[in-house]
């Protein structure tokens, strides 16, 4: 699963710290998400999508070929 968090964050002019505070997680979690090292919970995915005023599937891109 890939995501567009970095791209959307730049578009909305948010720092990692800003986004972390908005979705109530630590900055490290945002770093992990942007590097695709962690798949968020559904709740966190929803909160992130809400910050960018979009849907979850617009932020998180599911790669069906590599899914197990």
């Amino acid at each position: 699963m890939n995501n567009r968090i970095k791209e959307l964050r730049a578009k909305f002019n948010l720092t990692q710290d800003d986004l972390a505070k908005k979705v109530n997680v630590r900055r490290e979690t945002i770093v992990f998400l942007e590097k695709n090292k962690y798949n968020p919970s559904l709740r966190l995915a929803y909160e992130i999508a809400c910050v960018f005023s979009t849907s979850i599937e617009q932020v998180f891109l599911f790669d069906e070929k590599n899914s197990t």
């Binding site: 699963m1 972390a20 505070k21 109530n24 997680v25 630590r26 900055r27 490290e28 979690t29 992990f32 590097k35 695709n36 090292k37 962690y38 798949n39 968020p40 919970s41 966190l44 590599n66 899914s67 197990t68």
Partner: protein, 130 residues
């Protein structure tokens, strides 16, 4: 700069501790090793505490879903690996004659080391597509 000061303070603490222990009596190699491990654990503990205090001061969250997940994964895997550690220790204890307290001590240090290694692994690699 702050990180540098903390790192320097920790190194100084470890260095002073080492010199004090070394100069206050005769220590065998095993005593020295135990002391170094003890000082390292204390150093890591102080570093962890400083990090937590800094986080609270910045009014950031101490724990979130990622940190909980890392702790869960680390705990379960390190428990699993530790079973094998104790198995090896129990086999070796028949061949190497050491006092029980010493064997238990090495086992505990081994468990702490395993936990630290696995925690570091997850901190660096993360867990993609789980």
């Amino acid at each position: 700069m702050k990180k540098l000061i903390v790192a320097f303070a920790l190194l100084a603490f470890l260095g002073i501790g080492f010199v004090v222990f070394k100069t206050t009596g005769h220590l065998s190699n095993m005593d020295t090793l135990s002391m170094v491990i003890f000082l390292l654990l204390v150093g890591v503990g102080i570093g962890w505490l400083i990090k937590k205090v800094t986080t609270v001061k910045k009014s950031e969250k101490i724990e979130d879903e990622l940190s909980k997940r890392i702790l869960e994964k680390t705990s379960s895997l390190s428990f699993y690996v530790s079973i094998y550690l104790w198995l090896v220790i129990s086999i070796l204890s028949d061949r190497i004659f050491l006092p029980l307290e010493q064997i238990v001590g090495y086992g505990l240090i081994g468990m702490a080391f395993i936990y630290f290694v696995i925690w570091s692994f997850y901190k660096v690699k993360g867990f993609k597509d789980e």
